[in-house]
């Protein structure tokens, strides 16, 4: 501490004694449980520390952002997550969003598709088909999804994990048919299976073969689809399941280490693939903590890549990320209040320096958004980007005494949590033992309890509530939402079955059978990448359920611990 800092600290003590002792304040903690001082001053923020720990945007350790001019050069991409019903319906929604100024697509699949089932599978509930996303059974659906949308002019993000190999192959062949070679395709695959075991739950195979498939995709993309982000490692979903801000950072980066180690085993150099690792985070309502979290995470990843993995390419050290609103912060009561929550969460994302953002729609505490609510979410991003001046300068919160303090503390706490993961055998062992599941369930419960007993305020839910009446027929409090909700097309299931029957009738079934057998052999071998085999099967209209069925027959399925 130099003399000027000592003087500031001494003055702060004086101020505290003189001012605050007269009017004591209650202790306050952030969402993640960190004590918050009434006022922050430039404690220990020497010039030397600035250059080492904060630095300049576009330069190591990237605390202030991965690009030198950030949004002044390029505004983040507005990437609303969308998909429902059939491929034709979703195609219409994509065109609608693009016409209204959306700059990237983000595809939501229905649950059967995410879990590798055909829509015709007898073990699924028929009304899950096309319900929370679009049903994709074969290449035909993928072709219809992007009908009239040139793949060389758009970037597409896919929420696919256990069955990424199939989705990537379908997109590649769709591009091929449009005359766009795979080397030119741009987009992002989620492909993060570990977080599926921890949250979200769309896993199929046990962890070990799952990691192999993830690595197959990363390796294949590094060689053949170089402009695609081969994985998007997620903190978002564990946060939604109950993690706090620094745990979100810690689990995501521990996963990133696991994938990096897995790919390195194949003899690749870290700089061959790390520039295409990307991330997904949540932005919740604790505005400053969330902005600080994104900054801390970026810095920590840069240090891990450089110091632990010895990467030389700065692109490997740059943590590029997408962030979305924290769905669990949304309330079903007084749903229009969610517009304000979403706006603040978008602000936290942008103040944290994200590369792309999704703003949730106010009706998503109920169901998937209507056209109108989806457009409003897009407008929220556009107003923040173009009407607030937020893009004029880089990292406007940088240098805030409070935010820099939070950035330091989150980095430190995330490191401690990552060490806890390592001490327990790493992420896969933590998943298999249910250790993180247990923590998340307990924390989610404590948070809900705090809302129910009023310790934690949710406006319109436990404070400033409109009346206390219960609907006599339903027993629901303040039942009327007053908003129009999207309707599910009752014929999706029938339409998908018809399509599937046609495909099975019109394709070369003997060829498909042979290709599925080839895929099986590749899956059984230790060193064959399955991607080329999946590509051949997809090109010949093998279905999702058939290809994943083959992989299930080799790898088996998995039941994850619940932590309860």
């Amino acid at each position: 501490m130099d003399n000027s800092e000592k003087k500031i600290m001494k003055e702060k003590d004086r101020w505290t004694n003189e001012s605050l002792s007269k009017k004591p304040v209650k202790p306050v903690r952030t969402d993640a449980g960190m004590d918050v001082d009434v006022l922050y001053v430039p404690k220990e923020r020497s010039q030397e520390k600035y250059l080492k720990e904060i630095g300049f945007p576009g330069e190591y350790p990237f605390t202030r952002g991965v690009q030198p001019s950030m949004y002044r050069g390029n505004v983040w991409s507005f990437r609303q997550y969308a998909g429902y019903s059939t491929a034709e319906e979703s195609n219409r929604r994509y065109k609608f969003l693009l016409e209204h100024g959306q700059t990237g697509l983000s595809v939501a699949f229905d649950l059967p598709t995410q879990l590798g089932f055909d829509s015709s599978d007898p073990s699924i509930l028929a009304d899950e088909v096309g319900r929370v996303g679009v049903a994709v059974d074969s290449l035909e659906d993928m072709e219809q999804l992007f009908e009239g949308i040139p793949l060389d002019q758009i970037t597409t993000s896919f929420t696919c994990n256990a069955q990424t190999v199939v989705i990537l192959a379908m997109y590649i062949i769709t591009g091929e048919k449009q005359g766009v070679p795979m080397g030119k395709l741009r987009g992002t695959l989620q492909n993060d299976i570990i977080k599926e075991y921890l949250a979200r739950g769309t896993y199929i195979f046990p962890p070990k073969p799952s990691l192999r498939l993830t690595a197959d995709v990363i390796e294949f993309c590094s060689k053949e689809v170089p402009k695609f982000n081969s994985i998007s490692i997620s903190g978002y979903h564990v946060r939604e399941s109950g993690a706090n801000a620094y745990q979100e950072v810690a689990y995501a980066l521990s996963e990133a280490r696991t994938y990096t180690d897995e790919v390195l085993k194949r003899g690749l150099d870290v700089d061959d693939f790390a520039p295409r690792l990307s991330f997904i985070f949540s932005s919740s309502l604790e505005l400053f903590e969330e902005a600080a979290k994104h900054r801390a995470c970026r810095r920590l990843w840069a240090k891990i890549m450089k110091e632990e993995y010895g990467s030389k390419d700065p692109r490997s050290q740059m943590m590029r990320f997408f962030a979305g609103c924290d769905g669990s912060s949304f309330a079903a009561k007084e749903p229009l209040n969610n517009i304000i929550r979403a706006t603040l969460e978008c602000l936290a994302t942008v103040l944290g320096g994200a590369q792309s953002c999704h703003v949730m729609s106010y009706d998503e505490a109920y169901t998937i958004p209507t056209e109108e609510s989806a457009r409003l979410s897009l407008r929220t991003q556009q107003i923040i980007a173009y009407e607030t001046g937020i893009c004029s300068t880089v990292d406007p919160l940088g240098g805030s005494y409070y935010v820099e303090h939070l950035t330091d503390v989150i980095e430190e706490k995330a490191r401690e949590e990552m060490k806890w993961v390592e001490d327990n055998g790493g992420m896969v062992a933590c998943v298999e033992k249910g250790l993180i599941h247990e923590k998340l369930a307990k924390q989610a419960y404590e948070k809900e309890k705090a809302i129910r007993n009023g310790e934690r305020t949710v406006v319109g839910v436990n404070k400033y509530i409109m009346g206390e009446s219960k609907d006599a027929q339903t027993g629901r409090e303040n039942a009327k939402t007053g908003i129009e909700l999207s309707k599910v097309d009752p014929d999706v299931y029938k339409k998908q079955l018809k399509k599937l029957n046609n495909i099975r009738k019109n394709r070369d079934n003997a060829k498909v059978e042979k290709l599925l057998n080839d895929l099986k052999k590749a899956a059984e071998s230790d060193n064959e990448n399955v991607m080329p085999y999946v590509l051949d099967a997809v090109r010949n209209y093998a279905t999702m359920g058939e290809m994943i069925g083959v992989l299930k027959s080799v790898y088996g399925t998995f039941r994850c611990p619940t932590g309860i």
Binding site: F117, L125, R131, V132, T202, Y445, T474
Partner: protein, 142 residues
């Protein structure tokens, strides 16, 4: 031991393919904290598996947690299977999660679901519903 002193046993089932079970786990912990024995099935359970587990575990209550919008078909299936097993009316059925339409709530109750608890339901309401319903059922059986 009197029947009333026996611990209430609850099965929380997660029907369908949806993997978001934060709410299911929260309700499981609420009921555990209220002194009940709670079994959580985990993800991706078919109605058949849920009903079988409820029979094997001899529970008083079957709670179905649904976020993905399949609460109607999943509940219908569970009720049909219980009927098939000759156990219609034997178990208390409750459904919770994202149930957005009032018509659905009315329909679920008509179908034979005893309690419906949409998102943001009060913990006290859930606990007192289970206690009261189980007590009534045990008294009827005497």
């Amino acid at each position: 031991m009197h029947m009333q002193d026996e611990k209430i046993r609850v099965l929380i089932g997660k029907p369908g393919l949806d993997g978001h079970d934060r709410g299911a786990k929260v309700v499981a912990l609420v009921l555990k904290d209220a002194g009940m024995e709670v079994i959580y099935t985990g993800l991706h359970q078919s109605p058949e598996q849920i009903v079988q587990a409820a029979i094997d575990e001899d529970v008083d209550v079957i709670g179905l947690s649904v976020l993905s919008g399949v609460h109607m078909s999943a509940s219908k299936k569970v009720l049909e299977l219980l009927k098939k097993e000759g156990m219609a009316g034997e178990k208390i059925i409750m459904v919770g999660g994202t149930i957005h339409s009032d018509e659905d709530i009315v329909e679920l109750k008509k179908m034979g679901v005893n309690g419906v608890f949409p998102t943001e339901s009060s913990f006290e309401d859930i606990v007192s519903f289970v206690r009261k319903a189980v007590e009534e059922k045990r008294t009827q059986r005497k």
